[in-house]
Amino acid sequence: MALLEVRNLVKAFGGLKANDDVSLALEPGELVGLIGPNGAGKTTLFNCIAGSFPPTSGRILFAGEDVTSLGAPEMARRGLARTFQVYVAAGDLNVIENVMVGCFLHTRSQSRARARAEGILADLGLRHLQSSLVSELPVAAQKRVTMATALATEPKLLLLDEVAAGLNPSEIEDIMAGIRHIHAGLGITVMLIEHVMELVMNVSQRVIVLDYGKKIAEGPPHDVARDPQVIKAYLGERYVRERTTDPS
């Protein structure tokens, strides 16, 4: 049974269809990338799935149950976690406290929450930063903290929203390792939105492409990269003709 199923999802804001008849399915244990040019509707899709707002029409099923109209807290309780692209922190909580908030979803005990948070931080190589304020950390560490916090809720499915944005190549390597660890090591199903192609194309087993709200391609990274529709969406017509005449 698919862990996540999206059926004919439409999300319209006024007259604009941010998501237009999108359908997809995620099997447990997959690592799927979601790409597309800016404004394609990727984050909107995440928001619908995660319960930030309800879709205009269509259905969302999680672990076989219809969760279309459920809100974010409910989704979190059922095992869906997500990170946010832009994290505006009021700066009151330090790293370990942030992660503990997530831990408190499944336990009432302070000591257990703390212990679990320490474990997660150790797992992601953040132990040494546990008492720092999130707002004082460099971007790469902040991104990992958001991942740690999401992991704290013991999710079955983790949605990562542009965790590599703003990172330099070696930081991207680190985060790739982190994602692989979460996926293979912890056995969590992952879907990630990315613009950084080396990341998404290298870690994903499968890639879904959105453009202007519609799904235009889906498949292994290698195939998707050559798909003329995808090339057209990113680079324009010209490049499509050039690519398809490329002998390699």
Partner: protein, 335 residues
Amino acid sequence: MEALKSALDFSDFPRIDRVTALAAAALLFAFPLFPHSAFAMATMIQFLMFSLYGMGWNTIGGYGGQVDLGKAQYVGIGAYTTMVCLLRWDIPFWVSMPLGACFSVAWSFLIGYPLFKLKGHYFAIATIATSLVLKDLFEVWKFVGAARGLGILPFKYQTPDFLRLIFKEDVYYYYVLLGFFIVGLLYMNCFRKSRLGFQLRSIKDNEEVARSLGINVHWAKIKTYAIATAFVSVVGSFHAVYIKNIEPEDTMSLDISILIALMAMLGGAGSLWGPIIGAGVLIPLKSYLKEWLGAAAGLVGIDLIIYGLIIMIISAFEPRGLWGIVEKIRRRRRV
């Protein structure tokens, strides 16, 4: 059990904090043994009361970040419940105080549900509105003495009366209140590390993120509001038997609500010591200003002017309060 351990655990504070706190506690216990004026004793009692008010407010206003300017209504409910219970049915304090807290909490749930649909300034003004409505009602309600209020005649009772909490000498009140103070402080220590405490702080940080972590924001706020209410109501009940004379204008006015919020804000909203520091600075200041300046002929209101100026200066230049300054210095030292 774990809650108790947590309440007694101050280990996340640096040693100097813990030592200072213990020293301060010792001083508080010893205070009545030193020679002191009646005025000083009264000021100390006010200090303890407002620390407790401030601590309560701090839960929703400080850790929760929701500025509540209507706490005075709960002072009123607590005070009047105790007063009426005593005067009409001779019910002891230890029964009427929890009863008052129950009424307060019930009312807080009733208005909390719609209140917390609002945010920011709108929320703050709404809290003022509800508090004033209740005050207006009390001002015409004959059952509670309307605008004239109610009063206890202490000589009617055999003092010291621990059941009804009626004493002729302030020192008894002081120690009872000190007991409440310690309990309140320990509770707050447990609260800030508890699940609800963390949820609130996450909400204050970023509501959308909090929701994505499974937190039911609306409900968390309502629960915390109820806790704040209970604190305030309990002290309100105490106020009734201590001051022995209550009327809507001095227990339920907007000035009281603002004063309560100010304790935590001046001292450092969202920190454990904040309300106590705030009360420790503001209450003596207010009392002594009033003594020296307010009564002086023709200078009515100067104490409030100075008071207002202090509020203005803190708001404009150090909104994180005194504890915020301490933390800033510490952080700079660390780097």
